[in-house]
Amino acid sequence: MGGSGRTVAARRPRDAALVVVLLAVAAGACSRSPAVVGIDDTLGPPAAGGQVTFAAEQEPTGWNNATATDASLATGLLVDNVYPSAFVQTPELELVMNEDLLVSAEQVSDQPQVVEYRIRDDATWSDGTPITAADFAYAWRQQNGSDPATDVASTLGYDRIASVEGSEEDKVVTVTFAQPYGEWRSLFAQLLAAHVMEALPGGWNDGLDGANLPPFSGGPFALADYVPGESVRLVRNQAWWGEPPLLDAVVVRFGIEAGALPQAMANGEIDVASPSPQIDLVRRFAELAPEITSLTDFGLSYEHLDLNVDNPFLAMPEVREAIALGLDRSALVEATIAQVDERAERLDNRIWLTGQPAYEAHGERYADGDVAGARRLLEEAGFVEGDGGVYHRDGEPLALRISTTGGDRLRESTQLVIVEQLADVGIDVTVDNRDGLAVFEKFFPSSGDPADRDFDLALFAWSGSPFPSDAAPLYAEGSGQNLMGYANPEVDALFAEALAETDSDARDALYNRIDEVLWDDLPTIPLYTKPILLAARSSVASVMANPTSRGPLWNAEEWGLREG
């Protein structure tokens, strides 16, 4: 989902849903300015008309981004310009009311919590039907979990609503909550046209599956001309009541692998792309300047090391702490990700990422390697140094496996650094990879049975969101995403408290408190925020980075082709 909503898909392994966002980091400042790619002062101002070709990394499996089966970043990227949202995420990671859809959105009462939205009078679907409370009510009914057969990605928030009522010709929506919900601004994102969906064969579950493009639009563009596997177009929505887009259409092409992009862009076949950066890709794009402008920056996904608490050694807090102490994360960042972008930094918080306003660095005591301290810890826990400098306990050597997506050079280098650093501490780490996404079977077995997990140390990335509550399933006892097998009732209680907290400062503090507890327990060790790469033809104006799940197409209505 884009807009203000988020889906648990946003907290899926980063490779499974490829993030194509970019965050501009203003040096040291809390506020950031978005990275504007494509500024070429020698060309004139953008003119109306024309089309721009965008290379998407993944193709959506369907167009209803709120169903579990089709929710993905790939889908969210494309529907962001078609389905209207109540609140939208700006490049500065702020959640603001969508002024194109709403006149106002306010919490008008605390007990019970009641929120009132006023929809603009001129807001209409592309067939002329006004956007009304009926569309809000439809979104609520489908996603509140009342019907177990409804395919929904997340009921979070909707299941706390008691009623959704319309008034004043249904342009005023009154939402009453049965239980308070602090993140109410995340609701009613990417709304579907209720009157169309209810008549569509297949309805909510299957009506927008596969090749069935939504036959409506509430945004500046509409989806059209879908050739599965090849391309789809975002064409100007004639019924759009806001500022009309400059472009006639954005052509989205699928299936082009990252390595083929620089030459395709040089050849004029692609205008805008945002692939995952690998070192040579960054360099190849840089070589295409000034015709192609490119930049790397830090997004909302982060790389981390997860410790399987079911391993008898990793169950010991002393061992986990020794690993965290022994790892020189600063050096690790230098040796790996900093080669792609030298501004890369160590990440010291699991809930907030570098650049988010509430970010606090809690992991500084584990920043640089303290090998002596780590070894002391192990010895105090009863480990004795044995053959080859590896610590033993009760005859068992402290041997662990580290697993990641095989074939990813950056990750394989990271593994080698970790193996070396931990060897100094006296821990024998061996690499145990599977190619590509196949390794996730070891972390998240398809049987769903935690006993089938087959790893000790897992190295991969989560893609983040501005909604910290998305982190809850990662640490909740018994959760499928909690691959570490971690359980701490204090953390679960804090997450629950934060979810109900309506004061945003108090909420932020609660999440930071959770991270502090996690640094004490160390089920995971965050490493760094992952960089992303955005490349655009310099003659396309206004291509701008957006670090949230909205992706680079978030302001496609502002894109234009410069003359000259």
Partner: protein, 326 residues
């Protein structure tokens, strides 16, 4: 002759059926196609997964599913893939895309290989022969995807720059939503065809020209050629009338085998050029644990292999009259 062809066809059908049993078993045993749905958190409703299972027929045992598939396959219906899309039209579309590529590449490679191989053999040990030999071995050692990148960099971009417009394309099999008439469409498809066909053709040319060269050398040493020369027939006439036709037999068999491999999946070339052909389909089917898709792919490429092999046999008979009587 008819008997030979008939026997071959019957054996081929048997092989296809046995292979399909094996493939179905392997793909079904590979794992649960709904695994990714089960892993989601919050979990997808159990009812939804159950419904999906029933829709895909996964609640029935594998042998029963296979027999059901076989039954409908014999009637021309290859079933549906895991996304509910009918397999036969999908495989057909991908086959057409691949055939475009393969026909172009094979034609180029064949003509070049026959000419170069024959010339190389006729002018054995000359400078030209050495050059062609070295070139062939260099091409044989070059990975296809690297060759593709080189072609993009050093053929497409310079040519386009010289012409002033992007005549040669580097990705895709056609431009999406192309405006214009039939000619524009054709020119566009040709522009997209150039590089992948060239990449594939160069690789095929490398091995075929070696075959042709050694076949021609064999024939040149034969008695009938020496007699022709002895009776005063000119060099070129000897070559064209007596040598080339007799040397084509080994190449025909090699081309038939290579053709089958290429149709089945020139996966790397397809990946680098973003063509959605048979190779891509196979990869999708296997990684998606989609038995119907993989079986559909197998059946179609199996038929192509059989057809190619039969055509090769017929050509063999055309080239060498002695075979017709056998």
């Amino acid at each position: 002759m008819i008997a030979v062809v008939g026997r071959r066809a019957a054996t081929a059908v048997l092989v296809l059926v046995l292979t399909s049993v094996l493939v179905h078993g392997l793909v079904s045993a590979q794992g649960d196609p709904l695994a990714s749905l089960r892993q989601r958190d919050p979990p997808v409703a159990a009812e939804v997964i159950e419904q999906r299972r029933r829709e895909l027929g996964l609640d029935r045992p594998a042998p029963e599913r296979y027999l059901a598939w076989l039954g409908s396959a014999l009637q021309g219906d290859l079933g549906e893939d895991l996304q509910g899309r009918p397999v036969a039209p999908r495989v057909g579309r991908h086959l057409l895309v691949t055939l475009r590529l393969v026909v172009a590449a094979v034609t180029l490679a064949l003509v070049a290989a026959v000419v170069a191989g024959t010339y190389s053999a006729a002018r054995q040990h000359s400078v030209a022969d050495h050059l062609i030999t070295v070139a062939s071995f260099v091409l044989l050692s070059t990975p296809a995807f690297w060759l593709a990148t080189l072609l993009k960099e050093h053929v497409a971009l310079p040519v386009n720059r010289a012409l002033g417009f992007p005549a040669i394309s580097t990705v895709g099999s056609q431009t999406p939503n192309l405006a214009g008439g039939w000619w524009t469409g054709l020119a566009d498809q040709l522009g997209h065809l150039v590089l992948p066909a060239l990449a594939l053709a160069l690789v095929l040319f490398a091995s075929w020209s070696r075959f042709q060269r050694s076949a021609v050398l064999d024939v040149l040493a034969a008695d009938h050629v020496r007699l022709a020369r002895a009776t005063g027939t000119g060099g070129r006439r000897v070559l064209v009338h007596h040598v080339v036709r007799n040397s084509l037999a080994p190449l025909t068999s090699v081309v038939a085998v290579d053709l089958s491999v290429v149709v089945g999946g020139a996966v790397l070339v397809e990946k680098v050029f973003a063509w959605r052909g048979m190779g891509t389909l196979l990869v999708e089917g296997v990684s998606g644990r989609d038995p119907n898709l993989v079986l559909g792919w197998l059946m179609v490429s199996g038929v192509v292999v059989v057809a190619a092999s039969l055509v090769a046999d017929v050509l063999y008979a055309v080239i060498d009259p002695r075979v017709r009587r056998g």
